[in-house]
Subunit: 301 residues, 2 copies
DNA sequence: TCTCCTTATACTCTAGCTGAGTATATCCAG
DNA sequence: CTGGATATACTCAGCTAGAGTATAAGGAGA
């Protein structure tokens, strides 16, 4: 069988959470995600990415997960005979292992997606966005119903509740409606987040959505935590990722139901009030542990 | 930046469920998954796949989802200067739209994974498999604990329950332990399912795992159903995918809680006993509808 | 025609989980 | 020693999931 030829490129969304803020590693002063060629020396895609991330940041990536592979023709700047296949990955880095986390190179997620951070309530920018989206949705009938439903669902208007997992859907709607600079239409009058090179912001949206969904059923948060941490630090990290505030007593109950962590025996009084116990992740509890969450009515037969 | 050159290949896991059996479309008498080159004429990866699947099967693919992109060096049969990137997709086809579903070309999932079908109880083959896996896990101490935990968790031994979503983990363990023919070790004495070309069975395992997980929170089953169906037909389809039997009253309760379907007003008496009402999927309820399933303790502040 | 078998459909009950709120403990600063 | 801050423990109501039971309505065959 004949097989097409293409360039292969690896794109990384490296994420760390420092001081309760989610960050992404960037190049070109925050305008692009780091990327590199996939070459023959690399054993596999994943190890290829691991190698050059380690070269560039000097620190290991704990968790690495493939996100998506793109190859739309629009993205190609090559000759007519070649095109680029971009394979994107999500990588999680521990706070301590991200020494440049304050330096340029690391930028907060919510610079690019200000409407995604609901920790201090619904962002003001959302009213402008939803106004414009509803205007965009108000076309002739066949498409109108569909558009309206998508907008209301994705942005939690009317009776729908805000669903933090829909980051990608929201970005795509805004792209379709021409509200983000990358769409290339007339520049929007509201400043809808900082744009990025090519479709890099879309890839970041994919990563955020994936991570927000994943923390609910896999213990991946701990890849972002230092060795020892307090329960509130853990909660703040989850809140940073989800862009939401959580109910403290219930968060703690959930955590120790799962038996994912154990006390170190030490306490820290750097938290302001009563000293907090330090915990560590129970590596013994292993990564394989899925938190099930079955929605099927099983029977025991 | 320099970018590596590679061949690009699209691999499809096309699935249909006919008469309560999950099938996958194959070539070479069931030994391989259909695949085709990604070429310049294609607008995008997804549309490229859609086009040649439609050409080959003559029927449209309803639902199409990217699975994974592989590029391990072992898979390459090319010259030293090229390698192949394989992008795999999961596609769902309606029962009626799969005219070849009885003909050669379509094979049951469980020919390849007999240990995955628990609809008639725990398959007998599993005792042999778990014996051999436990023998394999019984090595010197540093690795033993980890191996034992993986085996027990993936195969639901001891206190762990069988988790149908772990199809890929189970296949990978069996591969590591040399229990599947593709591993290339000494041929296993138990016949652990029908092998496939290269890593195609691994890709099929990925597809099964993804689909089993997805039916729990997205209404993708309906992509596999005919226009009108009875509740038991729907249940049998879900059971076929999950490889499990479900509790009938609870299944029905779950379905109409979600308001995903509506009565057509007609009944069918082809089911043997009392005639069953026919239902159809409420397309109005739209694909965007995620069934949430949040595991985060949200607060209303 | 009546009985039995089969499938369809409706209802009940209980344990556990989730969302929400409240109460108590222990440090630091002034 | 008092107030502010954070940490930690406990309570309670409503919902949901798992499980079981009861009734309805067709067909096949005695």
């Amino acid at each position: 069988m004949t097989v097409g030829l293409a360039h292969a490129e690896l794109i990384a969304v490296l994420t760390a959470v420092t001081q309760g803020e989610p960050k992404v590693m960037t190049v070109r002063r925050g305008e692009a995600l780091p990327s590199g060629p996939f070459e023959l020396v690399h054993r596999s895609l994943q190890s290829g990415l691991r190698e050059w991330v380690q070269d560039q940041t000097g620190h290991p990536v704990g968790y690495l997960e493939q996100l998506y592979t793109f190859a739309d023709r629009d993205r190609t700047h090559d000759s007519a005979k070649r095109r680029t296949i971009s394979i994107s990955y999500l990588g999680l880095v521990r706070e301590q292992a991200a020494p440049g986390a304050g330096k340029p190179g690391w930028h907060g997620w919510y610079e690019y997606f200000p409407w995604e951070d609901h920790r201090s309530g619904r962002p003001a920018i959302l009213s402008g966005i939803s106004d414009q989206l509803q205007a965009w949705a108000d076309v002739e009938l066949p498409r109108r119903e569909h558009r309206k439903r998508r907008v209301e669902f994705a942005f939690g208007l009317h009776d729908a509740a805000w669903n933090e997992d829909l980051t990608l859907q929201r970005y795509e709607l805004m792209y379709e409606a021409g509200l983000v600079a990358e769409a290339g239409h007339a520049p929007p009058d509201i400043s809808a987040g900082r744009p990025m090179f090519a479709d890099h912001r879309r890839i970041l949206a994919t990563a955020i959505a994936r991570l927000r969904a994943k923390i609910k059923y896999r213990p991946v948060v701990f890849e972002l935590m230092p060795e020892n941490f307090t329960l509130l630090q853990l909660q703040r990290t989850v809140e940073a990722l989800a862009g939401l505030t959580l109910h403290k007593p219930n968060f703690r109950r959930l955590i120790d139901q799962q038996q994912l962590i154990e006390e170190t025996g030490e306490v820290t009084s750097e938290t302001g009030g009563r000293p907090a116990k330090l915990f560590r992740y129970r590596h013994a509890v292993l990564e394989e542990r899925a938190l099930s969450g079955s929605k099927l009515p099983l029977s025991r037969n």
